[in-house]
Symmetry: D2
Subunit: 357 residues, 4 copies
């Protein structure tokens, strides 16, 4: 109930602060007899890992995950899987200035208003460092989906826009995503993204990003009516990612301007749909088509440009957030977006099994 | 767990089908000693009520709510409040054709895939008729917020776009919203909306809509970190409304294109913010500013234009959805959007009381 | 969270007051395609129904249940099943005296302490009238178990002690239970129970009772480790019944005095156990043996003998609870105990399906 | 949903196996600004710690707890508190024999039936080692109760019976409990308990125990109606402890034999009750009197006497459980019983705050 927990049947409890001794999560509800090693998780953490190129924060974290429970002789046992990642690159100078000032765009002010106390060490609990737990849990969610539904399940995300620069969708090639630092599916976009972000960084500014995610191989029938619609749960999971503040399924903000007959996804025998404006979900339940969503990340709030704020005593002041930060947090959002989609689908898969199989 | 329930501490269980004997909900977790009458709920139901003008469905429902429990001598007792609304205008000819065909854009196909059975009486459980329960529960949520926080709490929504027609934000006047059939805050938009919808209706087509909601008077500190962020819960609640498929908080899809320093909401003494790009929420917790969100409704899927589909045996066919339908479901979405925002805020208010007060 | 809801996957939300217009519950999470009629529920309600003989309250309630949703053409659809029972025999003189006084042994005092308001109409929400909802939900739980596990599932309870009078276990015959007003499995106990309760009633006193419940045909593997052990969930469900305050599984209070080797249930090939001291549950998970529990009901708190208490202003006074009451509430507890066991098992069955099948 | 989690608002997720690298739990929902150090938790763990005298298992575990998150500068921050205890005395010879055989009275058989896999290292997840997490979480629950309600809150348990040996209640002195290895409140019982347990140990047998717990200083009004009654939640929490299979509140199994007027706890001005047969709870809500419960522990299932069982292939065999075991697990149950009561009360306190304050 305190918001540090994801899911209902596939669920995990996350814990830890950016500059505390460790972060981790306990993943529960996992079916037994699924092969699982630390490697299965590490490969996704490595995608999210900071410090890999000049477009991400220079904080050096190996993000080495350890499994402390719930796996026996290489297989899940059905009991809770405790994962831990020790924090390594923790420098107290990181928070010299922010101890007494609220950084605009961050949770410093609101945590203080809510709790009357705040771990001022670079965001504490509100730091994006927590997203490593999401990625780790997502790796287990993928294992469940592959084990129970099949290898055809494929959840992939890509950056389609950084600041005002968009990719050319005609060049879309999923294989490119892992080959450039921007998670872009358009090889031709890479230079433009690089040049743009270099200029943003030099100005001490930051940029937003738009990520698109596709889940394929998902059977029809996942989701629930009314309040836990599959799209509603996806919206919550995606909106809960740090810096995300907008989510759309299928064609949907654009759909406002379509006529009903344009927006209708007509159906043909063989359960085939002639289009997918609905993003693979009707009435909150999967249609068997690809599930498609788009997620907007705001520009990083930590910037070198001075901004006006107040200190913890309420007096006017200014702040420059030095530290080590991504100029565009959205980029590293890609593996996180994939992970959250995997977690939502694993949860709804177990829910579907309980009631309908 | 089956998706027919909203909330955690303020919560309600909804039930009922479009063409069954009744619909209703049980609202639970309501603090005791709050004055509550059927009138307090009815006034919001009357806003959502169909058949009030030519731009909404011609189904005639009084939507008369009865309180069956949980209120004693005019006050809440802290026990479950059972609400019931009997269905009146139920015609079996409404579903003659759709019994054997799946309507594109509707949940007919996915319910069958999930459950292997479907109440084919005009959407059954997936019908927008269920939203009456949301509005009723929302009325009680408002009572809680007003009783515990104060009369300054004000949750208001308005239609800002229908199809390709937008309002002029310079003319924004909340008082106008209740004075025209489109819930528009711009008196000058009314003629254009009317003309546009008339043409849509004549073509047997339908239109989407964009609704904006503002919650003011909400104290700082509501919300929870990480997974139950206030914006994440708002996204889920709004995305769960029938026909909604996109949600943005504050300036957020546009924020992708802003520079970090443009997007930062600077703070001044007195806990004042110089802008509100964040939509009143930072790190998932309310800042004390207005909470602002926008919600996209897709065009009504029930249209007179024939569309291709399959029948329940999987064979190709066509369907024309005659029945009685709103040409633009987004319009009547306004009281529903307000209700969901009220429900999310009441829930987080109780959660905040539990842990932090 | 407010305590009016049972279960996790098989779940129901109960509502209503003893002397309000109706009581009811919404049963959710029920798998689709199970045959269900009002008759299936009514037969269990008829067992619990008051006014059937001189050993139960003379309140006349037909307890006629109506299904308002979730069933279509005789089958469950997977959506919420709303059940309603209108209150008929509601006399305002029932609560003339108790309006201003707290009845010892009842919840009058504690509801006032908790909520600051209380529906003084004969217990309001705390009345045993609510148990009709339990029995109704239990009937649906049985249908799930029979549909998914098979007809061999059999959940039966019997009264084994009233006041100081015990049955002779050698005479145990399940067929007798429905043939006498005491739900006794020992035909020879009936006269003694009758004579005893007549004398209790004449003295204006009341008696306690002990009920034993057996669930057979339950497969091994139901239950969950650690906190939601099957026996823990049974204990909670049974202890939540009005007037129950003690629960034991298997031989267990007696087991304190056994040696380890006496208490061990030895196992033989074919997964047979040589004894069942564990009551069919080990480590919180069913063994495939009969699940056996015993439940103690305290003597009815409403008695004709005057007892000392305080009024709502805190002043000393006395009260005689006239009204219409069971001299031994435990007797009618039998169908309620069965229902709660059925509900717990249905819930754990669905949970088992989600994770382990 | 998988049973490794306790509570609703005060909640914790437990994880870890008996012979894995570590065990731990994540405590969530804790209000901010409560002083908390590892010492506050360690003192209760030290009471439960094995190997302290010859009446408990000789496994040597320091049970040193570490706080990994959620506490900043000595105070809780409102974010999850992750606790870890590394396992030290882990010998693989402990499980040489039990790898291929199911120990009667243990969860070996049922885990295999449920999950199809089992961590055979001395119980794995089902080991009583997990109860260290309960005690650690209970220490935090106590801090919440003391911080929010006051120092008068006092939760104390004692052993009142071992095997057939009972204490003399006239000698009851709480101060004695910490002064003898049996947690007995009767100094005169100590010799008899010692002699008895020595003889049990020599015979290779084991004994059960009865524990009584009192919670004082708890205000009236905690608890919830109907399904989450305070006594129902206590029953579940206590029944979930390893080896517990019976729970009674107040006078209750005995109450079956009382007359209604004997069982009624009469009330006098000043909200005083003349007796406490109800165990401090009426209608599921605390009365302000002491909350009193009794809990039966079965005799330890691990005994040196050979017992018949089957192996993992289903063939008949015998087993002698050598290893290191408590001859009476109930004794060390005392701090665990206290901890569970503290956890239930902390949870209901937060729930009460949410709805009624």
């Amino acid at each position: 109930m305190s918001g540090n927990r994801f899911g209902t049947l596939f669920q995990y409890q996350s814990w830890g602060e950016s500059h505390g001794p460790a972060i981790g999560c306990v993943v529960d509800g996992v079916p037994p007899l699924i092969s699982l090693t630390e490697k299965d998780i590490q490969k996704y953490l490595d995608q999210r890992k900071p410090g890999q190129n000049r477009y991400t924060t220079q904080r050096r974290e190996a993000d080495r995950v350890q499994i402390l429970s719930g796996v026996f002789e290489g297989k899940t046992t059905g009991t809770p899987i405790s994962l831990i990642i020790f924090n390594e690159d923790v420098k107290s100078k990181d928070y010299a200035d922010i101890k007494n000032k609220f950084r605009p765009g961050h949770a410093d002010f609101t945590y203080m208003e809510k709790y009357g106390i705040r771990d001022y060490r670079v965001g504490g609990r509100s730091s994006a460092r927590e997203t490593a737990c999401r990625v780790a849990a997502g790796a287990i969610a993928r294992k469940i989906l592959e084990h129970e539904i099949g290898k055809k399940v494929n959840i992939r995300a890509a950056v389609v826009q950084i600041g005002k620069k968009e990719i050319n969708r005609k060049n879309w090639d999923w294989k490119q995503v892992s080959k450039n630092p921007f998670f872009s599916p358009d090889a031709k976009s890479v230079d433009a993204f690089g040049t743009y972000l270099d200029s943003v960084r030099k100005k001490g500014s930051s940029a937003g990003a738009l990520i698109e995610v596709h889940a394929s191989g998902i059977p029809a029938g996942l989701g629930a009516p009314v309040y836990d619609k599959l799209d509603a749960d996806l919206a919550k999971a995606l909106m809960s990612i740090n810096a995300v503040k907008a989510v759309e399924l299928g064609a949907e903000f654009a759909a406002v301007e379509l006529a009903g007959e344009q927006n209708a996804d007509e159906i043909r025998s063989g359960k085939k749909f002639l289009s997918n404006n609905a993003g693979g979900i009707l009435g909150g339940i999967s249609t068997g088509q690809d599930i498609v969503a788009r997620v907007a990340f705001k520009p990083t709030s930590s910037i070198l440009t001075p901004v006006r704020t107040i200190d913890t005593k309420g007096k006017n002041t200014e702040i420059v957030t030095k530290g080590r930060h991504d100029p565009c947090v959205g980029i590293r959002g890609t593996p996180i977006v994939e992970a959250m989609v995997a977690c939502v689908l694993a949860d709804h898969w177990l829910r579907h099994k309980a009631q309908c199989r």
